[in-house]
Amino acid sequence: MTTWSAVVDAAVVGAGRGGLPETAAVLAPLTTRGPDAGARLLDTAAAVSRARRAGYRPASAGDLAAPEPAEPDGRPPVSPPAARRLGQLLAGERGELVMEWLRLLAGTGRRPPDVLVPDLLSAGAYHADLRPALGLVLGPLAAWLASANAEWDWATSVGREPRPPAWSAWKVASHRDRREMLSRLRHIDPAAGRDLVESTWSGDSARDRAAFVAALAAGLSLADERLLELARSDRSGEVRLAAAGLLARLPGSALSRRATARAAAVVEVSHAITGRRLAASPPSEATPEMIADGIDPSPPRGTGRRAWLLRQVVAAAPVAWWPSHTGLSPPELIRLAGRSDWSTALERGWTDAAVRDRDAAWIGALLERPDGADRAVFQALRPADRDRWLREHPDSPLLGAVDLVPAPWSPGLSAAARRWIAGLAVTDPRQAPEARRLMRAAAIRLEPPAGPELDLTEVHPRLLDGWDEMLETLSIRAAMRRELAEEPTS
């Protein structure tokens, strides 16, 4: 026991109740002056505490094992300004800008700053959506750190050959992991993915079954029909609905053959001298076969029974079947339907089918109708198609749905969005919610990151805060690009 710890022990119980330890001879003149035990304890505490500080020697730790070094990373580091920027973005929780910074870094062949790798690993632990971008830039240091911290488990193999997913874990993995596993496998080997689903089908929960059926959309083929037919008679309505949706999209399936046969029977295109005509003859009753194929016999309030059945019969056929069956393009079909007695039911049926099948040609044609600018229909386009459609229709009111286009926006779309937002920013503040929503989206997605050309004095005062925020974020993004292009030795 050291003198210090003996003095501490004596102090804890108090001078009134215990003796004082002997101190080194050199301290004795300082520690034995006081008239009583209390004073002597204080004198001793003063002298020994100062002596302990002055004479502190670190303990010997030569026998403790140090960690094995990490594998070296051959990539040069980023420039100091770029490193500082990443630190600020991480500290400010600007998740979407961190994501962009990582994507930009991936193109430079440099490595992220070593000192921030733990912070990146923590960000990836909390925000799984950052992991793909992190996987592009993290290297052996991240894997080395992750192997020492259970929270960073997801990163133990970054920068190395991707580990093949452990299919053997299928039975025991979590719902989310199984869904991810299945969708990856369906892209590589659809048949193996289907086998996996079938191997546990009877024991899986309705939630699992519905998710797995939905995941079969990737790599969908006639080989999946048997499983989908099984799912179509599932006890869970959610599973039935998901399966019916896929079967309807599957040309050649028994269901879609029956659906196209029904569609062909109710819609007829005739070629007369006066031009082409489209005539619809909706069924008057839903047959038991139609009901078995998922057609709902009871119309919602306010909709006629025949219109309701027509809409569903039209919707049940794969939407791409209509042009091949009639030899007419989607815009022509819509135009002819407009002259028929059943135009509303026909358009709604095609809309349902186009949204389900995410058919770009059909959705485009539906959006181009007068009053056709529907946000929900637009959203059914695939992200790249959304960008292209808006680019080709720079005056469409659907520019107000530009926030549905994920980053990065093409230069053409960015130019259209800048004009649209500038227009909103100067007008009356009743449109402020839309303006703010679009400014937030534009701030992180405009490419290149430059704001609309509009004088600050023209911006409506109520939108100024949102405007400033957008310009500040855009200037950060422009700076990120400059900094990442700098030489690391600057």
Partner: protein, 452 residues
């Protein structure tokens, strides 16, 4: 315990007060609990993980893992509102709160002293009445005499009953002595007493509280005894004593007559704090040519702008003016020169023994010196092995095989390990007599950077 009104008064602005009401719903929280010193809980927010939020009941100081830059944040306010409503059950302090309480008492050591200095500096006008000045100075010395005499008696009683008995005393028992020292115009002494109170409050959560408490009591006793014999002290030690008791020098005096030092300064640490009433900035500056290490301190009352130090994490040319009687010297920036550059390799001793040798030299002049700048090169990071409970602390081992314990937030420790990647690193930071607090680091010989 806080009333609702008092909690609302803590809010930084009206929006935060309003947002706090939305957080004061028990259903948003898990793991709610409180004891005599703290209240804590985990609040579901927009993040993937719940925010860990905690507040100290002594002064309402709080901390939360949410990204808000408002202080206190809406979660902390909501937590205190729940407590005011009686919706928080009593419980035992979880580890994450205990860690925070321990870190706080170490930090408050600095904060208490700096706040005292600032307050004293503010109260100084410069009357051009030498006689009156002399009279006031004599009167103040008498007041401090009285305060010191009372403190000596109190310390004597404390020594007789023992630290264990004192640790069980309520906050008010300590606080009345601290207030008495402020009345006696000895803010520095009040700061020591408040620190003892914090150590007592955090006591049951940190095993080394008796060591740290006795260390502070020893320093305080020495200060009282030194004050009584102040005329017999060497001039430098007497100046250090006066500065620590609370006699301050105005910035104007330092500008006018403080010793000047021109160098290229590496800023190897920067700490900014803001408790809503007083903001402070502290930096450690390492001189490239003179080898001097000085500290820069600035304070600003609520709403005022902090006088910036030198650019953090860089080297800049500047002329400093040093405060008398401060060891290591406190400096203010007399003149900034344009040249600024990257930090470059860190300065530092070859081993801990060499780095800590300066501690004894400093104590010889100012025996009350506690937090000192320390830099050492080529050390190895030894992370605590979670499985091995015998080495729960992270260590930094030098090439001679000697190691000091690292006290730092978990993310700072991991940054050290990332820079090391299993190899040697250079570090600069603070030594408080018990642990090392790293603030700048570099892969051995490489470019230094701030990590805290």
């Amino acid at each position: 315990v806080f009333s609702r009104e008092k909690v609302v008064a803590l809010a930084p602005d009206a929006a935060a007060a309003k947002a706090a009401l939305g957080q004061a719903i028990p259903a948003r929280w898990t793991g709610l609990g409180h004891d005599e010193v703290a209240v804590w809980g985990e609040c579901r927010g927009s993040g993937a993980r719940p925010y860990q939020c905690q507040a100290s009941l002594a002064e309402g100081a709080s901390s939360c893992s949410c990204p808000s830059r408002k202080f206190p944040c809406k979660h902390a306010l909501g937590l205190l509102l729940l407590l005011a409503d009686g919706s928080v059950p009593a419980g035992t302090l979880p580890d994450w709160v205990a860690e925070w309480m321990a870190a706080r008492s170490a930090r408050s050591l600095r904060a208490a002293r700096t706040a005292d200095r600032a307050a004293a500096a503010e109260g100084k006008a410069g009357p051009s009445d030498p006689k009156g000045q002399q009279r006031r100075a004599a009167s103040r010395e008498r007041k401090v005499d009285d305060g010191v005499n009372e403190l000596r008696l109190w310390l004597h009683d404390l020594a007789r009953v023992g630290l264990a008995a004192a640790q069980a005393q309520p906050w008010s028992w300590w606080d009345q002595v601290a207030r008495r020292m402020i009345d006696a115009q000895a803010r520095g002494l009040a700061g020591y007493v408040r620190r003892l109170a914090e150590l007592a409050a955090a006591g049951s959560h940190r095993s080394d509280w008796p060591d740290r408490m006795l260390d502070q009591i020893g320093a305080l006793h020495l200060m009282c005894e030194a004050w009584v014999r102040r005329d017999a002290l060497p001039a430098e030690t007497a100046a250090a004593l006066r500065a620590r008791i609370g006699f301050t020098t105005t910035t104007a005096e330092v500008q006018a007559s403080g010793k000047r030092l021109t160098d290229r300064w590496a800023v190897l640490s920067q700490r900014v704090s803001d408790d809503g009433q007083l903001a402070s900035l502290q930096q450690w500056l390492y001189g490239e040519r003179t080898g001097a290490v000085v500290t820069y301190l600035a304070f600003a009352a609520a709403g005022q702008q902090l006088e910036p130090g030198l650019p953090a994490g860089l080297r800049s040319e500047a002329t400093l003016a040093l405060y008398p009687g401060t060891v290591p010297a406190r400096a203010l920036i007399a003149e900034r020169h344009a040249a600024t550059g990257p930090l470059g390799p860190l300065p530092g001793a070859a081993c801990w023994d060499e780095a800590l040798a300066t501690v004894a030299d400093t104590l010889a002049v100012d025996p009350w010196a506690d937090i000192l700048p320390v830099a050492v090169r080529g050390v190895t990071v030894l992370p605590a092995d979670g499985a091995d409970s015998t080495s729960p602390r992270w260590l930094l081992r030098d090439t001679a095989g000697r190691a000091v314990p690292v006290a730092a937030a978990i993310e700072i420790r991991w940054r050290l390990l990332a820079l090391a990647a299993g190899g040697p690193i250079d570090v600069a930071g603070e030594w408080d007599g018990f642990s090392f607090y790293p603030q700048a680091a570099a892969a051995a010989g490489g470019e230094g950077q701030l990590i805290a």
